[in-house]
Amino acid sequence: MHALATSALRLGDDSLILGQRLSEWCGHAPALEVDLSLANCALDLIGQATHFLGLAGDLEGKGRDADALAFRRDVMDFTNCLLVEQKNGDFAQTIARQFLFSHYQELLFAELAASKHERFAAIAAKAVKEVTYHAKLASDWVVRLGDGTEESRARMVQGLDWMWRFADELFVMDELDAALGIDKLALKPAWDQRIDAVLAEATLERPAPRRAITGGRSGHHSEQLGHLLTEMQFLQRAYPGATW
């Protein structure tokens, strides 16, 4: 696959898988407002995925569209980072995942919006405004849960503790990122600053450093992604090519 096509695929897969995860909350969130918020974020992410996967298909030039890439690939062909495929867990764990990812995505898209690759730049410029809301939502909840009751605080700490090991993968650079003109390593200090500021407001400590777990970009996923795809791809697997 063309280098830029793979870059588009990675961006699309991150958004698609996180969008699918958030959709699992629909009808189950702790309050109506939260239910609407998570569903709205999911919708934004799936919209991004549609654009990035469509772009990946165009660049690949084999006639695959966004639907083909979303519904007719197997787990090893997905290139999303491991963070986004993590299970929702409780609400605090979902918020921890969103918090770490949305701040990364906002910084990444702000950078990508200035890319010389016009189609990437157009999608990023469009999406960054939406992601700003996601980062704000997640940050507000980190503060509310962290600086909340004993119970909410304990759950927020647990959620962050689990998700933290998957954060390093977000900033791993390789030749594809270089071809796209994005320096992910350079995003890290700004990300650290944002994360630390919110954690301080939430009266939480930064989780202890852990050995980073990586592999998502090359298709080495956790068992959890397979389960997610089983549900997401069921219809196209059972009835290939079905439309309605």
Partner: protein, 189 residues
Amino acid sequence: MASSNPSVILGSRSGPGIHGQHPALADPLDPGRAPRVQDDVLRILSNVPDPEIPCVSVIDLGIVREIADDHVTITPTYTGCPATLAIERMIREALNANGFADVRIDTTLSPPWSTDWISDEGREKLRAYGIAPPPKGANAASLKNDAPAECPRCGSSNTEEISRFGSTPCKALWRCKACAEPFDRFKCH
């Protein structure tokens, strides 16, 4: 079809038109001028409502970016807004029904749509419909210090946000502390 007519550019590459007003609406057509395809298309699209907020047309919302002899360029509000597909279908049907089946619909993401593209008329229609229109010139950086919305029913600014995410991607839930009514606010975007 004649192709010498310049297309109607709605707004500019760097942002919305003067005062967010559609140029053709701000500057009434010269009655002596020959009718153009674009005038008809503009009139037709001015009657195509947004599927989720039917008080405003796709022109009011600034979704239609350009009208040319042979194509119309539209832009989505939110990347994942389900209304985008419905809007394209409704525009297609309206064009077909009025004899413009050969005018194609293009979609562009850039420059990204913002709430500043909503016309002044559109803002008033939103308010009358019970949705607080977004302040102008708002940008993402102002998210933390959003000024209170003005209640579309009683006009009070004694209001509070209930949830930043509402019934559609473009709206937030607010409540008026003066008249106690909940209301939607069109989010700055």
